[in-house]
């Protein structure tokens, strides 16, 4: 542990945490423009309006000063614990994601575990505890139903997510995150895993895996076509109905932090991480090259998130039985068959 490691830790946490208000602002502005509204435009700091950019900050300050009500009937211990459980996993996943190439000998990644992808999978699945605890501990019928729905949805789509990640590992032949990105920097766009990782035979499988991963990621983040756990028409706010003040803010921020993490994961596994042909040179280890690679990574994340927001304000909500049917009867078989196809191609053509 040296000063570099500490700097990277602080930088990554700040990246995710300051990404949340930016994302909230982006979502409100994009949704406003899709619906032909103006969106937030009144908050100002020192007379600087910046198109309502400070609105999420004002929201956070407001929530900080709100009274924190713990319902009398709640299970106090789990009720207090749940926001922690829901917020830590998305933050923790970011440790193994390479958020840039390298500066000098220092790789822009907090920790390069030999079990990288396995770590991601195990930490991501912890998120279901926060939701289930919060929904159960509130002792509120809306919360309980929301929590149950959310847990069933999370575990159902986690399988699909895991299978499409395994497809990627099969292409890359390693679970080391840094190595997975390095393999995607060998040539131009076609070496990205979304396009088959350099093998044209795998191009269709790569596209299918990417699509399946993206849909499962939407469901994992409770984003709109799949936001049944908190559909406001039936369940008020789902599992965080009883939460107020800072604990509510934790749930709210965790949701956006999970979006950021999931998009970073998508970029790393499918879109070549920090690599962009013609713009970033993998051999360039200067400060400028390192910062440029980080910029490319953030830009790609922004593109993935913009698609998230676009989908949210375009599609209507699924019904719960449709959601389950899509997860178990459509996506899971597709992911399994895709895995087998890649395995067959791998055996038939051997070492690439």
């Amino acid at each position: 542990m040296n000063i570099w490691d500490l700097a990277k830790i602080v930088f990554v946490i700040a990246l995710v945490l300051q990404g949340v208000p930016v994302l909230v602002w982006l979502e409100r502005k994009i949704s406003a423009s899709i619906q032909g509204r103006i969106g937030p435009n009144r908050t100002a700091v020192l007379g600087l309006k910046a198109a309502g950019f400070f609105q999420p900050v004002a929201d956070a300050v407001k929530l900080l000063f709100k009274e924190d009500v713990t319902p009398g009937a709640a299970d106090r211990f789990l009720y207090q614990l749940a926001p922690l459980f829901v917020f830590v996993p998305p933050l923790l996943v970011f440790t193994v994601i390479p958020f840039g190439n390298r500066i000098g000998e220092e790789h822009l990644q907090v920790a390069n575990l030999p079990i990288g992808v396995l770590f991601v999978m195990s930490v991501l699945s912890l998120g279901v505890y926060g939701v289930a605890f919060g929904g159960w501990a509130s002792n509120n019928k809306y919360s309980l139903l929301g929590g149950l729905r959310a847990s069933a949805q999370l575990i159902s789509y986690e399988l699909t997510l895991g299978l499409s990640i395994i497809t990627i590992i099969l292409m890359a032949g390693t679970v080391d995150m840094r190595e997975i990105v390095a393999r995607q920097t060998r040539s131009a766009f076609l070496s990205w895993n979304l396009f088959g990782g350099g093998n044209l035979l795998l191009l269709p499988s790569g596209l299918v895996a990417g699509l399946v991963f993206y849909v499962a990621a939407l469901a994992e983040n409770n984003r709109l076509p799949f936001d049944l756990p908190e559909c406001e028409a039936e369940l008020v706010a789902g599992y965080h109905t009883e939460y107020s003040s800072m604990k509510f803010a934790m749930y709210f921020m965790a949701e956006y932090a999970a979006m950021i993490t999931m998009s970073a994961l998508f970029v790393t596994l499918f879109l070549g991480g920090w690599h962009f042909p013609g713009l970033v040179d993998p051999a360039d280890t200067s400060w400028i090259g390192g910062l440029l690679s980080h910029g490319v990574f953030v830009a790609k994340m922004g593109a993935v998130i913009a698609l998230y927001i676009w989908i949210r304000w375009t599609l209507p909500r699924f019904r719960y039985d449709q959601l389950m049917r899509l997860g178990w009867k459509v996506l899971l078989p597709i992911a399994l068959v895709n895995l087998l196809v890649i395995a067959v191609i791998g055996v038939a053509w051997g070492e690439r």
């Binding site: 542990m1 830790i9 009937a73 003040s245």
Partner: protein
Amino acid sequence: MYFDYANILVYLLVAAGFILGSLIVGRVVRRQRPDPEKLATYECGEETIGTAWIQFNVRFYIIALIFLIFDVEIAVLFPWTTVFRQAGLLAFIEMGVFLAILGVGFAYVWAKGDLEWLKSLGEVRTEPSREGR
């Protein structure tokens, strides 16, 4: 390598510290005036009847069971994917057998209708009604 795990531990502490810190700051700066009405369970203005800790639909339990089987499968697939390049055909056949057994289980669950969220709870009429045509 173990330094990497230390990094993750420090990261975890910083992240949890931020969360706890902001919760504590919130507790310091705001006022706390609970009263029975405020602490009542929210139910859109209705008086709550009973607790929410009731028996819920068994379907959630079945989904969790099926999930468990598939999750173990994914955990087993992870080591397989990493040695797939070296072991080649042998690994492929072994995993094919494994996936086939699992596939039979999946087909059974599917045919039995446990993946169906909407299931009739009452008697199902087997005879097609003639009058409806």
